[in-house]
Amino acid sequence: MLINLRVNGKEHAVDVDPSTPLLWVLRDYLGMTGTKFGCGIAMCGACTVHLNGAATRSCRIPIEAAANAEILTIEGLSADGSHPLQRAWLELNVPQCGYCQAGMLMAAAALLKEKPQPTDEDIDAYVTNLCRCGTYVRVRAAIHEAAKKSGTSA
């Protein structure tokens, strides 16, 4: 079945079984591998993308439910890695293995849109992604840092 998708502002038509999860369409059909597979049950958050602006775990979203939606992936978070979160992530050396970090960044980006100056509690409630390396302390710090930079430049 031909399904029309809009990913990072670009139109795609994909011939795929409509029950295929968005995650696997992004990765296998569109070759966009920045969005990761971690658990397949929407628990870990490695597959987080924005669906019409909301942080969404793409491993459990059938592609038919994402048709015609506005999808944003890590590849589209910024054109050149200059999103305040990406910069803060590098400044504070957040990643360890890095595998969960695209999902973390996407969750954090959605949070900042909703709450530009989040508290620790906001972060804890919103960024529920799993990181096995244990980068949480730096993730929090980097979100605050990005919020601070965005706040002062605005």
Binding site: C44, A46, S78, N93, P95, Q101, T128, R132, R138
Partner: protein, 757 residues
Amino acid sequence: MSAEAPETGPQDAGSGRKLSRRTFLITTAATGGALTIALLLPRMRGKSARPGKPAEVGPWLTIDADSNVLLRVPMHESGNGAMTLAALLMAEELRADWSKVRAEPIELNRDARENNLYAAIDGKLSTFSGRSTTPDTLRTLRQVGASARERLKAAAAREWDVPVTEVEARDSVLTHVPTGRTLRYGEIAAAAASVKLDREPEVDAHRDLELLQGRAPGKLVDAQIVNGTSVYGIDVQVPGMVYGALMQSPVHGGRLKRYDFEAIRNMPGVIGVAVVDPDEPRKRLKTPINDGESHEQSTIAVVAEHYWQARQALEALPVEWDDGAGARWKTTEEMNAAVLGRLDRPGDKVEKEDGDALGVVQRSDRVVEATYLTPFSEQAPLEPLNATARVTDDKVEVWHGGSIQAQSFLIAAEESGRSFEQIHLHQTMLGGNFGRRNFADDLRLVVAVAKKFPGRAIKIIWSREEMFRQGRYRWLTAGRLRAALGKDGLPQAFHSRLCRTGYGTAGISNIAWTNGAIPNVRLENSDLPLHVLWGSCRAPGYNSYAFMAESFIDECAVAARIDPLEYRRKLLAGYRDPGWLKCLNEVALRAGWGEPLPKGQGRGIAISNWGNWVSKDLIAGTTAAVVAHVDVSRAGELRVLQLDIAFDCGRVFNRDAVEAQMQGGMLFGLNMALNEELNIANGRVVEGNFDTYPIRRAADTPRLRVHFGGLSGRDRFSEVGEPPVGPVGPAVANAIYAAVGKRIRSMPFRKHDLSWS
């Protein structure tokens, strides 16, 4: 190429296991006995560099016309920063501009084709794997940078016709000091490649890194991580690639009985199935990890055009298994009873006997005894197991994010039966390791499947459930510890009896208490081999054994009515490694040990060491001391408020990277202690995903405080990934006891009732 080099470097050249020493040995053979360092930079190819093509200054590095430096390093990135540190060490001596340095893993196929250019690919663990600060590796990396630098300087001196002593190298620029003339590295690299030195420069491998200058450079891969372009094994894309999903015998060691391909033949995208038969004869090589952890399991794989199609088809495929002997274990409790029951009889082996521990315990009227249990647990790196392989008539190409390149390479050679020259391993990044990617068990199965589809590149990805249930787990261990307390309350004897389904005892056998601090010691071990597979898990067994030893010392302190910190201080008073006491004092001071706390709160302390057995006097490895501060509600809800750690790995290069490992290691140890457990039902592993195997999230993260005041400054750069994991569990258990008087003797802690009134 006959220049002589000093036979021994500034540190222990005695070990023949490591990279540089082995390279030296090969050199010796190649040059008929004259020991030279030149093979570190063999085959200078001065004339071969064409304009626009990067000049290879020996196999370790190339420099292009714009002075971009590409370093080839023996380790890759798995999250601990080892690859970046390796590059820093080389760039330091090279005096390279760090902003123009890239690194990539050494290509083992080239090593095989070019007579072990870098080192032999064999069963040695440390050659092509994840650490950059083993003494010989340190020395090799810095030597490579220094030797290349001297060639660049010599080439510039030749160009200017000046003495080389007047040439200075810095930030990838060569300067003729008296005249101020300069050449960029890129301008002279091709000429440098043909320079022959009379002698290689000397290197002080343990000098601090000037490149750091107090900065904390991130990993070389971080920019790609945050923009989503980094390539993990799971992200590999090969033209024409197809996908697979697989299932192994749910009871480890079982066999595939029958399946019905006809039932799925016409499902969308399905290409075929492949069976992996563990009984098929195979080539066996000596591999770095060869305890059976990489051995093939009975497997069926479905190959399809797309991954989701393969998953769907596998789920629909009718399959029957012959479970084999493992199925007799009906429940976890049966297994626990087996290891616990084994503690009633003397151990199979006595690992250590100092003095007369049994006699002292028998005669004592102050005996403390406690029995502990730690369950199977899974490393659970976030990237599911996977590999990609293509087998053709003359080539075996594999793409794999293993943690030990040599292991991946050798397993591909074993499973394909091909010669080393035909194995092309493309090393990718790893989405976490923690020991799970050591074995290349995933790569083995993928090669086995790809063999049956010649010419096709096949990527197989494990489901999370398959990965959980086909693990190489931290094994099940029961331990009974006994001590006889003297008049001063300190143990006069320490007697342990362990029964384990894996191996090792670091955490009990290598600690201060059993190596001089207590006069009479007897350590007994028994093995109970089970069908459940096992392997390294952020230090093999260490977290279990440290939990037992440090909980037990706490119990002794309580029995002696002495503060647990003071008790350990007394025991460490004359201990040969003063780093232990330094860590203990540092962490206690920083954590505010002894300051009053409200009811329901408590602090606990624990200390251990990982790695000190590399030295006979045990003044080695990394000692880590942790203080946990917990709050237990009346209803029994546990909150860990703060973890403080002090450690002694000797010295550190990159403080920020070490801090990251300490933070992550503490959280790993915390999750293990509080949450992790795999159960067995009818021989099968029950838990299959994060819904039943909880991993703590940002909201559950205590304050983590890393203190550097425990460093002894001794001349070593010991590992920092594993050591923090051990003391966290017992520190928390001891804090719970301090808070509410309940002693936790088994993991996971979440299963214990901590309520109080």
